[in-house]
Amino acid sequence: MNQLLPLPVLMPLLAAGVKITLGPRHPGLQRVISVTVLAAVLSVAVVLLVRADRFGPQTVQVGAWPAPLGVTLVADRLSAVMLTVSAAVTLCVMVYAIGQDVADADRRTPLSVFHPTYLLLVAGVADAFLAGDLFNLFVGFEIMLMASYVLITLGGTAARVRAGTTYIMVALLSSMLFLIAIGVIYAAAGTVNMAQLAERFQALPSGITLLAELMLLTAFGIKAAVFPLSMWLPDSYPTAPAPVTAVFAGLLTKIGIYGFIRAETLLFPGHATRPLLLAAALLSMVVGVLGALVQVDIKRLLSFTLVSHIGYMIFGVALGSAAALAATVFYVLHHITIQTTLFLVAGLIERRGGSTSLHRLGGLARTAPLIGLLFFVPAMNLGGVPPLSGFLGKLGLLQAGLADGGAFADVLVVTAVGTSLLTLYALVKVWNQAFWRVPAEMPGTSAEAEDEGAAPPSVRLPAAMVGATVALLALSLAYTAAGGPLVSLTERAAAELLSPAGYIQAVRPQEPGGPS
């Protein structure tokens, strides 16, 4: 039954191959393939989650080669649950993209670019989550990054190329740093299999493991946009098309966080870098939210809140206790869904209001009440208003922070609360200016024009786009409704993370006998 593990990577790969062969001539067929494949990936992910939850980490040695030689794929509760949510999110965003007809840029190029690249992005994400091997994690990163380079510069407009260049060069540098880290780790431990690394790191001098840990965390930090390494994100994300930004915001940074969690629990269990991570979390939260307060464009504002909320997750990882990790996992799931929903809504606003800049938007609450509702609920969720999932995540983190009792942790708790307030303030400002404010010169929507009841020609939003956004919103509300079982799942995941023996035993790396 473990043959299911490689499927989330293989199916999109095969589908991408088929789509490239088809070329841009059959858009209808392309869409059908995309949706069916992503639905299949989602169902496999759910099955994996159920099995991982019941029977512990699921492993498969690709090509039947024993552990340290071949590549091992591992799905424990953490990777399974993140894979499931990512699959759900990518499916919804694909439906949204089909509705928005992002692929229309394809008709201008001889190759169909959007659909296959999107599927390869999903394959890369799945590979990164399932990789039990550090170098394979690097390859997973590379697939995902390469796909994101293509997606961010889709259509080749001047703004996208400029922003894309920044994104690509920073990502290439992070890959290089990751490669140097792998070189150092292999030089020190002689293996790249993560389970075996966990064992061999115990034997190495603490100086070397600290060195390896910091190099890895730098590479993951760039990907996750932790403060000193996060300035590239708000410049590059907003220029891409809405569904692309939604997938990036939802997934790419969370892969970095997944790397953080894996490094801090499996490879380097000792809390050597705790003060450093706490400081990074504090700075990410504060600088991110202050950045958000100054922005005029909705997408840029959301990018800054993204950076700020990464700080929450790093805070959870830094605390390291079981409760903190459980809260972190919950917060990651919440943030994947909410950030993607908000960017999709930003896409709707852009399509309906003509722009996402707050100066030019106005009166949307009247002209598009549905978008108003679709924006208000996730915005309040991100702002931490109970009983939505944002509040539950923050509640878990605050409880863990206070339970930790350290002075620095208390400072972090206060910062977390302050950041949540400022996030709410930023989002309320958006609600005021884009939805409530009725600019005088808005044709057809100004107060006196209302009386004639001449509703402005409402641009009909494609059903697929609205449908996808509503589906994601329902998912985020489900976190609240099914709070109990979900929190207990994250607690079990945290417990599993804090005892790496289970993971190592599942992979069973054999020490290579015979002479070196």
Binding site: F135, V139, E142, M146, Y149, V150, T153, G156, T157, A158, V161, R162, A163, G164, T165, T166, I168, M169, L172, L173, S175, M176, L179, I180, I182, G183, V184, Y186, A187, V192, D235, V294, Q295, V296, D297, R300
Partner: protein, 186 residues
């Protein structure tokens, strides 16, 4: 087991050159820098693989050619993958360079700054100049005030001294002369 210093040094030097190139503005230098950086990193991974040795090929090698133990194949596999990925990213980065060359106003392919950030930085600059201007005004104003106060105090002291002298001259009995010159209307 220890790494070869020369190999590591060469790798480090290439990384240094690569980084120096990557920090440039021109996009084609950036891409070249990335390639050189990639080569440097590959050399570093190779040093992790241990000393130079026989090619990792089992049979079909003429006997007696090379007695040294085989070089470690794992870093070689990793480096091979990294080289191929570097080729892919280089090709795409060059396509970007071409695109930005064609789109850009001038022909150079420099990396331009983000407009929104410039707006925020300009806003900050204006704010700082305002704050500095206001502070300067305040300082001048307070200097003036101090000047006036000192002037007033000097007058007052002069007035009191004059008063004391006058009173010392007149006899105390003469009360009703108009003491207008030290009028207290100030």
């Amino acid at each position: 087991m220890s790494g070869t210093v020369v190999l590591a040094a060469a790798g480090g030097a290439l990384v240094a050159a690569g980084v120096a190139l990557v920090l440039e503005r021109s996009l084609s230098r950036l891409v070249v820098g990335m390639l050189v950086l990639g080569n440097g990193v590959n050399l570093l991974i190779l040093t992790g693989g241990g000393p130079a040795g026989r090619a990792p090929i089992l049979h079909g090698v003429p006997p007696g050619a090379d007695r040294r133990p085989m070089n470690d194949p794992v870093p070689q596999a990793m480096i091979l993958t990294a080289i191929v990925i570097a080729l892919g990213t280089a090709a795409f980065a060059l396509a970007i360079a071409y695109r930005s060359g064609r789109l850009g106003d001038s022909d150079d392919d420099d990396v331009r700054d983000d407009i929104e950030d410039r707006r925020v930085t300009r806003g900050r600059h204006e704010l700082r100049t305002q704050v500095r201007a206001r502070r300067r005004e305040f300082r001048e104003w307070s200097r003036e005030q101090r000047g006036q106060i000192r002037g007033a105090r000097r007058e007052l002291r002069a007035g009191i001294r004059a008063e004391r002298e006058r009173r010392a001259v007149d006899d105390p009995g003469d009360l009703d002369d108009g003491d207008d010159e030290s009028g207290s209307d100030r």
